[in-house]
């Protein structure tokens, strides 16, 4: 599990881990908790081009649907097969095994720090 304090965040309740030119993206524990038990995840395939802010996937719980927005523009290098097979990983380990996609990017848009994200969700 990634250390949430070292991650960056978006107002769409996603987290971004930057390692070199790869951004690993997931949804936050706050978002997973609000959704409830995740039962279906739809992710873009490897090689998909994504533009910043576009809807690239879905995270569905029994009671609602959350859209996955691409926080950066780039190319999807990997979608998390483990989450596709077992969507409950999004609830049980949102910052770790529940990661969703990895994207290569060339430019990083402004993201939100851990402290500011905590303020955003009132925690």
């Amino acid at each position: 599990m990634a250390d949430p304090t070292t991650l960056q965040y978006t107002a769409e309740h996603e987290w971004v881990l930057i390692e070199g030119d790869i951004a690993t993206i997931g949804i936050t524990a706050f978002a997973a908790d609000k959704l409830g038990d995740v039962v279906f995840v739809d992710l873009p395939g490897e090689g998909s081009l994504v533009t910043e802010g576009s809807v690239v996937g879905e995270v569905e719980s029994t009671k609602s649907v959350g859209e996955l927005f691409a926080p950066v523009a780039g190319t999807v290098t990997e979608a998390n097969d483990a989450v596709l097979a077992d969507p409950s990983l999004v609830n049980s380990d949102p910052f770790g095994a529940g990661w969703l996609i990895k994207v290569t990017y060339s430019e990083l848009p402004p993201l939100i720090s851990y402290a500011n994200y905590q303020d955003l969700v009132g925690e």
Binding site: D33, G36, V39, E60, T62
Partner: protein, 367 residues
């Protein structure tokens, strides 16, 4: 915006780690961690629900039976003491103001009408207005009464132990009056989950003690607290309508498949009779069940298509936790309402084929 309301059990839910949702102005527990786990617990063991937000209205007086036959769609005058009935409150146009459970008291002319939280005011107003000319008193007791549901196949020994009752002879839709901590308490074999179970009406000051006793007695049987998210998927699997989704002022009971609930054979007038007898407009949509493959569920508000033609709309939908595939209730044109018909769900721009099926989706095995 009205003031947010809290159940007398609110602190219990906070302590149990519940997350909350606004439901008809009430802060109610939506889940205590895992809505799926809560759903499965009710199907396989038991769940305990706080439904204290429901409204309870007492009807009493010499004319109460005749009054209810006039005010409501069903024939309540034939109820035995301690018997329950599912019924509807209609307006003059035959539209549904609310769906209700009515219990007849243990003796005399007392009845208890249980309404949805969101309809408390319209129901109380309609019941009061319709009381003109009848010797009845209509009393809104909602703020005094808490309601706890214990649902699931192992519910009986749990409720029996806590209340010191033998419920082996209590039939479905029958109740029993008893006491809990020296206060009156009413237990009915009713529910909204498709499982066997009980609903317990208790004075609000005893609600916390009763909840804690039930949780303690239930733990060895696998009982866990369950929230509104599980309650919604449970009732959907059981094909039970939810007001505001499958029922509303614009819907005649026959469209929702509830014509059996409206008793046209009863003597005398009742509110909505003329409109019900006239029937819906030709081609009016009807409620059906839909099933689909895969895991992407159609949800309330999603359009239904036959080719390019819009033929209906989903009113409730989810991935069924018990069945493992998407299910939905929907209003569709009569031309596509026949079980076996295939139509498409527009799931956020992509079409997913679905099959019309008879309701319910899930039926428990009778013991």
């Amino acid at each position: 915006m009205t003031e947010t309301r809290y159940s007398p059990l609110h602190q219990v839910h906070v302590d149990a780690g519940a997350s909350f949702t606004d439901f008809a102005g009430w802060q109610m527990p939506v889940s205590y961690g895992s809505d799926l786990g809560e759903h499965h617990a009710v199907r396989t063991a038991a769940g305990i629900f706080d439904i204290s937000h429901m409204a309870e209205i007492r009807i009493d007086g010499p004319d109460s039976a005749a009054y209810l036959d006039y005010a409501l769609a069903g024939r309540l005058s034939v109820l035995d003491h301690l018997q329950a009935k599912y019924t509807l409150l209609l307006d003059e146009q035959g539209g549904v103001i609310d769906d209700l459970i009515v219990y007849r008291g243990a003796e005399g002319n007392s009845f208890l009408v249980v309404a949805n939280a969101g309809n408390r005011l319209p129901v109380v107003l309609a019941l009061q207005e319709r009381a003109a000319g009848f010797k009845v008193a209509v009393a809104d007791e909602s703020d005094l009464v808490s309601l706890i549901a214990v649902q699931g196949p192992v519910s009986r020994p749990i409720v029996e132990k806590v209340l010191g009752l033998d419920l082996s002879e209590l039939k479905y839709y029958r109740g029993v009056e008893t006491t809990y901590r020296d206060q009156k308490c009413f237990v009915a074999r009713t529910g909204y989950t498709g499982e066997d179970g009980y609903e317990i009406y208790v004075g609000q000051y005893n609600a916390t003690a009763l909840w804690n006793d039930l949780v303690e007695a239930g733990e060895p049987h696998g009982l866990i607290p369950a929230g509104l998210a599980a309650r919604d998927t449970l009732r959907l699997e059981a094909g039970m309508p939810l007001y505001g989704h499958e029922l509303g002022l614009e819907t005649l009971p026959v469209q929702a498949g509830l014509d059996r609930v409206v008793v046209l054979a009863k003597e005398g007038d009742f509110v909505g009779r003329a409109a019900i007898e006239a029937g819906p407009v030709p081609g009016a949509r009807v409620l059906v069940g839909l099933t689909a493959e895969g895991r992407r569920a159609g949800r309330a508000g999603y359009g239904l298509y036959s080719g390019d033609e819009l033929v209906g709309e989903i009113t409730s939908g989810a991935l069924s936790p018990t069945l493992g595939h998407p299910i939905a209730m929907a209003y569709v044109d009569p031309a596509v309402a026949e079980p076996g018909t295939t139509i498409d769900i527009d799931v956020r721009g992509s079409r997913i084929p679905a099959t019309v099926v008879a309701l319910p989706f899930y039926k428990r095995e009778k013991q």
